[in-house]
């Protein structure tokens, strides 16, 4: 990682968000010789993908295929990484784009921390681990998760009791209680917005009673239950640790629903539910697994086959949208559904141990007041030109991955490559224009684009 010397800085391409889209875009730009700066608001890069168990349709282990990309990015000589840093706003200057960013304190000097975790072992305070969707425990100072990059400790002031045990345990004196949030600017020739997505609330539909039951879970929680470093070490339900024997998957629970303001399809939930059911049938061979769907959208290469395999494995598919879930006293859940393809007993109430809701993919909350960039009606970044599938309404600002709308990993990576290509072309064109004799307008300022032209030439 490039050392932080001064805080204000410039770069060729600013990549906002260090999920798989941001990483891919940064790598593609850097490999072409441009300098890329990734700004990620979490303590680690990797985005949602690093938290997944396995990925459809190949069933590759997600962390095994994400980690190499993460370390390739972090070790690339042309990529700079800022974590715990959030883009607050973006404005166009004559010379390009200027982002204002805030870096939150981690109370650990990243240059000194060697990732030994002695501080974590010394700390006594534990809180629900955000990476594990609250299932497991994390200490107030800790390495965020096993394969986090960078591997440095982060102190969470919301739980720290300021006992000083971590400072006493750290062998390199990396703990720095004096850190404060800092704001600075980044000037960039081009910007790639790879801010990804978030999931809408489990509590949107009161009839699901999700707030009343710990056994109505997010699909990300299910990913963690199934992950190699699972918080419980195996699949258990959160209310009482029971090994679930009957699991329901409710499709479209937060999408394709005008009453929620999410009329569109989130595109990945059908497939990840099928994947999760497949993985569960391995983990819990006796369990009854039922997917309640409106229609299965298996659109990608090899996806239909994946779906057919799941059917052949004996996973139940019931056509009908669930809109009512009744929590029972013993922690079980009664799912109400009209089995629309059944000839008889169409109105069913089925008892399950655990219910997963396919929450809708929506633009990430909080943070980015990326004011000048227009949003489409779905809230994701608008891509006005059909022939320019990465370009936003601002010249030099591109969107990649799920920041522009729901996508799976394959499409996200393709999209990020396309955005990197568009940004690269844009940077080169600006360069050419700026090195042309000053004439016509006369007011144009030079874009400061450090050494990259040579590098491009060298490639």
């Amino acid at each position: 990682m490039i050392a932080l010397k001064t805080l204000n800085r410039r770069t060729d391409a600013l990549v906002v968000g260090g999920g798989i889209a941001g990483l891919q875009a940064a790598l593609d730009l850097a490999d072409q010789g441009f300098k890329a700066l990734i700004v990620e608001r979490q303590p680690s890069i990797g985005g949602h993908m690093i938290a997944l168990s396995k990925v459809f349709p190949t069933l590759d282990c997600a962390s095994c295929i994400t980690t190499p990309k993460m370390s390739a990015a972090v070790h690339h000589p042309k990529i700079e990484l800022l974590v715990n840093t959030e883009v607050q706003s973006l404005e166009s200057t004559g010379a390009g784009q200027r982002a204002t960013v805030t870096r939150q304190p981690t109370y650990v000097d990243n240059d000194k921390c060697i990732g030994c975790r002695l501080c974590e072992y010394a700390c006594e305070v534990e809180y629900p681990d955000p990476f594990e969707q609250g299932l497991g425990a994390l200490r107030a100072i800790a390495i965020p998760f096993a394969n986090a990059i960078p591997q440095v400790a982060v102190l969470n002031p919301a739980y720290c009791t300021t006992c000083g045990l971590c400072a006493r345990a750290c062998p390199t004196g990396a703990i720095d209680y004096t850190q404060e949030a800092v704001t600075f600017t980044i000037d960039a020739g081009a910007v790639i917005l790879a801010t990804g997505f978030s999931l809408n609330s489990l509590n949107l539909k009161p009839q699901f009673h999700a707030a009343q039951s710990r056994n109505i879970i997010s699909p990300l929680t299910m990913e963690r239950l199934l992950a190699p470093h699972a918080p419980y070490g195996r699949v258990l339900r959160p209310s009482d640790g029971k090994i679930p024997q009957s699991i329901a998957f409710i499709h479209c629970a937060g999408s394709r629903d005008q009453t929620l303001g999410v009329p569109y399809c989130s595109r990945v939930c059908c497939m990840y539910f099928i994947k999760q059911a497949m993985l569960l049938s391995g983990a819990l061979p006796l369990a009854d697994l039922t997917l309640y769907y409106i229609d299965i959208r298996a659109f990608g290469k090899g996806y239909e086959q994946f779906y057919q395999n799941a059917r052949a494995m004996g996973i139940n598919f019931v056509r009908g949208k669930v809109l009512r879930i009744e929590p029972l006293a013993d922690g079980d859940l009664l799912v109400h559904v009209e089995a629309t393809e059944a000839a008889e007993h169409c109105y069913r109430k089925v008892r399950h141990d655990l219910v997963v809701l396919a929450q809708g993919m929506v633009p990430p909350s909080g943070g980015p007041a990326l004011v000048p960039v227009r949003r489409a009606t779905d809230g994701f970044f608008d891509l006005p030109e059909a022939t320019d599938p990465s370009g936003t309404n601002l010249p030099g600002v591109f969107a990649a991955g799920t920041a522009a709308g729901p996508k799976d990993i394959v499409d996200t990576i393709t999209d990020a490559g396309a955005a990197a290509m568009a940004a690269g072309r844009y940077l080169q064109r600006r360069r050419r224009e700026n090195s042309a004799p000053v004439g016509e307008a006369g007011t144009r300022r030079r874009v400061h684009l450090e050494p990259t032209m040579d590098a491009v030439g060298a490639n």
Binding site: Q207, C252, R256, D257, Q258, T259, L260, I294, R319, G320, K321, V322, L323, R324, H336, V337, E338, A339, T340, E341, A342, A343, E344, H345, C346, Y347
Partner: protein
């Protein structure tokens, strides 16, 4: 069973007010939110919508589910496509009313408000004409309504009308029974038919299922409607059975039952109809968000009938003779066409079809139990497979 596909059904339902049928993606969410569906076999509202989408008009005609929907609107509130399933059910009721009616008048009235208004005017003019031509002596010194319109003659008219309307309504209901029971009509034992009769009257008089319609408004709506029904049944009793006691020239004291009952009936008709009209105007409650011309006409006619009835009483008590006779004629020229149009050919027919549908469901279930079959899921008869 062969299914006849009527490719015009979908358009047809549009004319009955079902404008959003094609928005439905058949997810079934409406069925699971409906507070009444589960206990009625879980068949609605989605399956009714499906029948419309697939053009199965005969199966739709044989389906009584729309009568088991009390229009709480829960399904429309939660439909992910905002396809207004509750209004589709309402349109299906209008469609069924028209299908049951063999004269074709119901269809005409539902699809053309002008036809309905013309029919009302025609009958109204006929009634007025009868009075203008054949009324009794006009006494102006005192109010002598029974001289102007002898109670015996009016009574005869009442009974003729009641007989005619019953004939039309019952013959329509007969078609409903035939279609919905299908082949089973003869197979079901007389005892089963007999034993379910209390169910019919229970629901005719109480409409009690309405109270299961979740929201707090559900209970209130039920109560207002019950008030209306009580007012209507009071009127019916006073006019058909007790007319000689009710239509007198003698002025009883205020507390005398004849007057009290009459006032009660007037209020019980006026308050709910005004309330329903205001609510339809505001379009806030799901049940009143969409109004077809037929909905307005029904309420307005009910309201005017009650209002003119009350006026007759007031002017009579005040001794305004001529006004009494004029308003009396006006009253009948409104009440009679309302009954003629609405009872067998319009929205009012639900007073028979709704309890009858519950009765038929009871008969089917009891027959299934008698046969030893597991309780029939009524939706099964129209399943999509």
């Amino acid at each position: 069973m062969t299914a006849h596909v009527n490719h015009r059904l979908h358009d047809d339902i549009r004319y009955f007010g079902g404008k959003d049928v094609d928005g439905c993606m058949n997810c079934g969410a409406c069925t699971t939110t409906c507070p009444l569906s589960e206990n009625a076999g879980g068949g609605f509202p989605r399956r009714v919508i499906r029948l419309i989408q697939t053009g199965q008009s005969d199966r739709l005609a044989a389906n009584t589910d729309p009568w088991l929907c009390y229009y709480c609107g829960e399904c429309s509130t939660h439909c992910p496509r905002q396809a207004n399933p509750a209004e589709t059910m309402m349109a299906a009721r209008r469609y069924l009313t028209a299908r049951y009616d063999w004269t074709g008048l119901a269809r005409l009235f539902y699809q053309s408000a002008w036809a309905e208004i013309a029919a009302i005017c025609a009958v109204g003019l006929l009634v007025a004409g009868l009075f203008i031509g054949w009324h009794g002596p006009v006494v102006l010194q005192r109010v002598a309504l029974n001289t102007f319109a002898p109670v015996r003659a009016v009574e005869v008219g009442d009974w003729i009308m009641a007989g005619l309307l019953s004939f039309f309504l019952l013959s329509n209901a007969f078609r409903m029974v035939r279609w919905s029971l299908g082949e089973d009509v003869r197979r079901i034992s007389a005892a089963v038919y007999w034993r379910q009769i209390p169910t019919f009257f229970l629901h005719l008089f109480t409409q009690k299922r309405w109270r299961q319609c979740g929201s707090p408004q559900g209970g209130l709506r039920w109560f207002k409607h019950l008030l209306l029904v009580s007012g209507y049944l009071s009127m019916l009793t006073l006019v058909l059975i007790l007319l000689r006691w009710f239509q007198t020239d003698h002025i009883y004291p205020f507390y005398y039952p004849q007057r009290l009952w009459g006032y009660y009936a007037a209020v019980a008709l006026l308050y709910p109809t005004v309330d329903f009209m205001i609510s339809r105007w505001r379009r806030k409650e799901p049940i009143h968000r969409f109004s077809e011309a037929s909905d307005w006409i029904f309420l307005i006619m009910l309201f005017l009938t009650a209002l003119t009835g009350l006026l007759v009483n007031l002017v009579r008590i005040n001794g305004w003779a001529l006004a009494t006779y004029v308003i009396y004629v006006l009253h009948l020229a409104i009440a009679v066409p309302m009954l003629v149009v609405e009872v067998p050919f319009g929205k009012w027919s639900h007073l028979l079809y709704r309890p009858l549908a519950i009765y038929l469901r009871g008969v089917q279930e009891a027959a299934a139990v008698e046969r030893g079959a597991p309780a029939l899921a009524p939706g099964a008869a129209v399943s999509s497979s």
